[in-house]
Symmetry: C2
DNA sequence: CCTTGCCTTAGATCCTGTCCAAGGTAGGGT
DNA sequence: ACCCTACCTTGGACAGGATCTAAGGCAAGG
């Protein structure tokens, strides 16, 4: 993700300490953090960073297609830095944690035109739900 | 859904005017209403019904498997009375409206065991996103 | 028809996320 | 190297969705 910042700057993104830290946090563990978790981690390196800035930055990264926003059943949204390789998610119904998965098959192909009801379909999201090893223990 | 109330009463559900009205609202148009929409419609027949009761009743219907709860990307959850026939959803990214769809193929079968990461997977949800005919117009 | 325990209610409260006005700063221009 | 100015950041207010609470209401078994 080091080139991410470079790429964005070329597209006219003003590079600030706050944005750098947010990007670095996302680049880190490749987990799926909530906005508040991103804020907490960013604040370890930049204590004055505000929640609003984290939200703003995440929103823009999502907008620019650099980060994926995944909603998790009414809990806080999670942010997935793995935006460039198509994949789906495995969600723990108990604790809300997630993992990336790459199922076989193409669900978009599984939607016959007769089932489109006039929608212009552009995206499919597949969510597998279950109990994660930690919660099962 | 007329037998729904019967079924629930047999399982020890106390039958009240409020619960009856909520069930009737859901049974109606087979659309996907939000909790507030359910409340609004219920209030047309039972003006004193409170939001809390609608939420309580919906939560229980979901818990008992009689109604499906579908989250829609940070907007209000929607409630789907079509809980007994497996299907998936088509969601308008602009207005949040939904339709049921029945794609071919079984996404659960598309998740190889090597991709389960120790989760006990019990459910798959497929969400097709796009623009509905009304919003495209 | 009475009693009991489950329901309902209004309103407070919580959680996520967005908005706002005021002050700060990156970085192009000179 | 320094200034400007447009863009960013900030904290706190705000909004929407959903849950919780304490007090009173009522279904339905006895």
């Amino acid at each position: 993700m080091s080139d991410l910042l470079e790429r964005l700057r070329e597209r006219g993104w003003r590079l600030t300490a706050q944005r750098r830290v947010v990007a670095e946090v996302l680049d880190g563990d490749h987990v799926h953090l909530t906005a508040d978790e991103v804020h907490a981690r960013a604040a370890r390196r930049l204590p004055e960073i505000s929640r609003a800035t984290v939200y703003n930055t995440l929103r823009e990264l999502v907008h620019r297609g650099e980060v994926l926003e995944v909603s998790t059943d009414g809990r806080a949204k999670r942010y997935d830095p793995n935006a460039h390789r198509p994949h789906h998610h495995l969600l723990c119904s108990r604790c809300g944690s997630m993992r990336d998965v790459r199922p076989t098959g193409d669900p978009l192909a599984d939607l016959p035109p007769s089932q489109s009801f006039g929608f212009t379909v552009s995206e499919v999201e597949v969510t597998y739900r279950g109990i994660c090893p930690d919660c099962a223990a």
